[in-house]
């Protein structure tokens, strides 16, 4: 693939990042003064980026397919001997999709936050962090080399940390922020090692150089790079075994959960693998590892989502599961990359809508997140209900809502690889139907189970308008991208596309999937809408209890990492106190004791000094004599 230099409108692509970055800088450096006008500036900078993104899309659609990868070098960043890294952006079909998702969904969530955060005393800080996140995420997807991608990767991690812990006076929020940051570090180590390995193997870290010479490297090296990139992706995208942080990350404000922990940042891992498709195409085992991780996470997320009573945590479980679908698709190779990105986009839209809907519900219910205290909200919050239903039908994959098209393509691609992977994907789709129905039934249907002093109401227009737009997106985006936007041929030049024959016709798989999904939804409906939902959670079976504790993710981490680290730290403290300090303090005590005795010779009597002088002189004389002899 040839990469063209940026000309015309494309030479403005750096502004995409610069605008939100400038917004973040202004908001964070002006301090409390900007509390009144700051949020509007934050919204404006992201909206301007979104407008520029749309203009760039129109410009790009006018170009012939092979000229759509455009690069812009801002300046030479690192130069050591032959090794150079530029601060350079690459705009191609893949990053274009991400730019539009990030800026448009980001704009909607910024607007929604105007209403959601209107009473917060630190709202300018919130918008500053959100701007910082958008800038870092755009840097991540626009970088033309892995080192610059790493900068964006760390930037989104930082923004995620700051925003999860935005209400840092809550101990749980502060702890969740730290947890997210620390678990992400483990993944980041994988990414940095992968970059080093690429540098050693290829002598360069730019995408074009690495992918251009990837086939010359040994399969072992490519597998190692692929596995390290998978570790990075697992950390950022909350995939097994680094999934534990995402559920706690729901401590952050709901718009943050919608933007960062549902729509954009957590999909960075999928982007990383899709971007590195050349490596995975040549490293079969690494791709297989991606599939295994994805399948485990799909089920973990779905099971956790089925048991949580906290509406945001249930959505977080579903996010894990849906990102698992994307990871599964990228693990499938060229038959799946396109659909992974397709599902990523549709999921970004409908999950953002679902999260914002959950935020709207919480807003009306005095920030109560317990779904057992909801019920019968459909008549009170009509707009929230309708948009939430659009997101609900999209995520479980009912035609013609957008999730149907993308998830169905992934399931079909999984069946192209084999019946086991395909069957697992279908089964998980059934569980999706169950837990999403459970959530909708507990929230909007059934009887009122509200706390006595709660008076639910519909949110203001500044919150419902983004909900309506996202609801429309949840409904029509899938069809629009598939039939009008032709996303397959749009992405094919970057990530490749192949199709393999399947034993059954396509409609058969659609039928099977739909039957399983509707069965799951029916079970959910019978259990939670037809039957009374108890206000106090019943103890449940062993699986429910395990899922309520995040399938023991924290317990495993504690047993495998935290406890051994604590023991090692204690052992080191003992070594430090006893051995090292003992040696230092002991030698000091010896010197101190000796000098305490030696100084007694300084008696102040002149004649004793004279005696020692004479003695010394005699000794010197004797020594001289001895040497003579």
């Amino acid at each position: 693939m040839t990469v063209m230099p940026a000309e015309g409108l494309f030479s403005l692509m750096w502004l995409l990042i610069a605008l939100p970055l400038a917004g973040a800088a202004i908001l964070l450096f002006t301090g409390r003064r900007s509390n009144s006008w700051g949020p509007y500036l934050g919204v404006l900078s992201v909206c301007a980026s979104a407008v520029l993104g749309v203009l760039l899309l129109i410009e790009m659609m006018g170009l012939p397919t092979e000229e759509r990868a455009i690069t812009q070098v801002v300046y030479q960043w690192v130069f050591v001997g032959d090794f150079t890294v530029d601060l350079a952006f690459q705009l191609d079909q893949l990053s274009m999709v991400f730019i539009l998702l990030i800026t448009i969904v980001g704009s909607l969530i910024h607007i929604y936050s105007l209403g959601y955060m209107s009473h917060d005393p630190d709202k300018r800080k919130f918008f500053g962090y959100l701007n910082l996140f958008v800038a870092a995420m755009l840097l991540l997807v626009m970088a033309n080399n892995y080192l610059l991608l790493y900068v964006g990767w760390e930037g989104v991690g930082l923004a995620s940390y700051l925003l999860i812990g935005f209400w840092q006076h809550k101990r749980t929020a502060a702890a969740a922020a730290k947890k997210a940051f620390i678990i992400n570090r483990i993944g980041d180590v994988g990414l940095s090692l992968a970059i080093m390995l690429m540098f050693v193997t290829f002598g360069s870290v730019t995408f074009s150089d690495v992918f251009g010479s990837a086939t010359q490297a040994s399969e072992g090296t490519l597998t190692a790079i692929g596995l390290l990139l998978l570790l990075a992706a697992a950390g950022k995208s909350a995939q097994f075994p680094l999934q534990a942080w995402l559920l706690d990350a729901m401590e952050g404000p709901t718009p943050v959960s919608a933007l960062i922990h549902a729509a954009t940042m957590v999909t960075a891992g999928v982007y990383l693998i899709a971007r590195s498709n050349v490596i995975y195409n040549n490293a079969e085992w690494a791709a297989m590892a991606v599939i295994v991780v994805a399948l485990i996470t799909i089920f973990m997320g779905a099971i956790i989502g089925s048991a949580k009573d906290d509406i945001k945590k249930a959505l977080a479980g579903s996010t894990m599961s849906q990102i698992g679908y994307m990871m599964l698709a990228v693990g499938l190779g060229p038959i799946g990359y396109v659909f992974a990105i397709f599902h990523l986009v549709t999921h970004g839209v409908f999950k953002a809508g679902l999260f914002l809907g959950a935020g709207s519900v919480m807003h009306g219910m005095d920030d109560n997140v317990n779904m057992r205290r909801y019920g019968a909200l459909r008549s009170v919050m009509v707009i929230t209900f309708i948009t939430f239903m659009a997101g609900y039908l999209a995520i479980i994959g009912i035609p013609p809502f957008s999730g149907f098209w993308s998830k169905d393509e992934i399931i079909h691609a999984a069946f192209e690889r084999g019946w086991f992977i395909g069957g697992a994907a279908v089964l998980a789709a059934g569980i999706t139907g169950f837990y999403m129905t459970r959530m909708v039934a507990m929230t909007f249907f059934g009887k009122k189970r509200w706390e006595s002093d709660v008076h639910p109401h519909e949110s203001s227009a500044v919150m419902t308008i983004p909900l309506i737009i996202l609801g429309l997106g949840s409904t029509f985006l899938g069809m629009a991208l598939l039939f009008w936007g032709d996303i397959k041929s749009w992405l094919e030049p970057v990530v490749g596309y192949e199709s393999e024959p399947t034993p059954l016709p396509t409609t058969a798989y659609i039928g099977i999937t739909l039957i399983v999904v509707i069965a799951g939804a029916l079970i959910g409906w019978i259990s939670y809408a037809r039957r009374e939902v108890p206000v106090d959670a019943p103890s449940g079976n062993w699986l429910t209890r395990a899922a309520r504790r995040d399938l023991y993710g924290d317990a495993v981490n504690h047993a495998l990492v935290v406890a051994p680290t604590n023991y090692a730290a204690r052992a080191l403290v003992w070594c430090d106190a006893r051995a090292i300090d003992g040696f230092v303090n002991g030698s000091a005590a010896v010197v101190g004791g000796l000098s305490g005795r030696l100084r007694r010779t300084q008696s102040g009597f002149i004649r004793s000094y004279a005696l020692s002088m004479v003695g010394g002189a005699v000794l010197v004389l004797l020594a001289l004599l001895l040497v003579r002899i």
Binding site: Q602, G604, I606, R607, A610, V614
Partner: protein, 99 residues
Amino acid sequence: MDPVYYIYLATILFSIGAVGVLVRRNAIIVFMSVELMLNAANLVFVAFARMNGNLDGQTVAFFVMVVAAAEVVVGLAIIVQVFRTRQSASIDEPNLLKY
């Protein structure tokens, strides 16, 4: 006369001076003993100058005398000052400068 006897004499004088410094308490006597040691050294210089047949030793002896004279001035002044403040010329009395 063999000049080596001067060396013997100087040794005896030096030893008397050294013992005087070590055993006597009166500052004046100690001072005199120091002078005795200096002069013993002078005697050795002169004797060696004679033995070696050049004037280097005698020159040094003059230097020693001049330095000794200067030292006497300083030393006696200190002794007088100490005596004025303490009403004593004992060398063991001023022992404040110690550990």
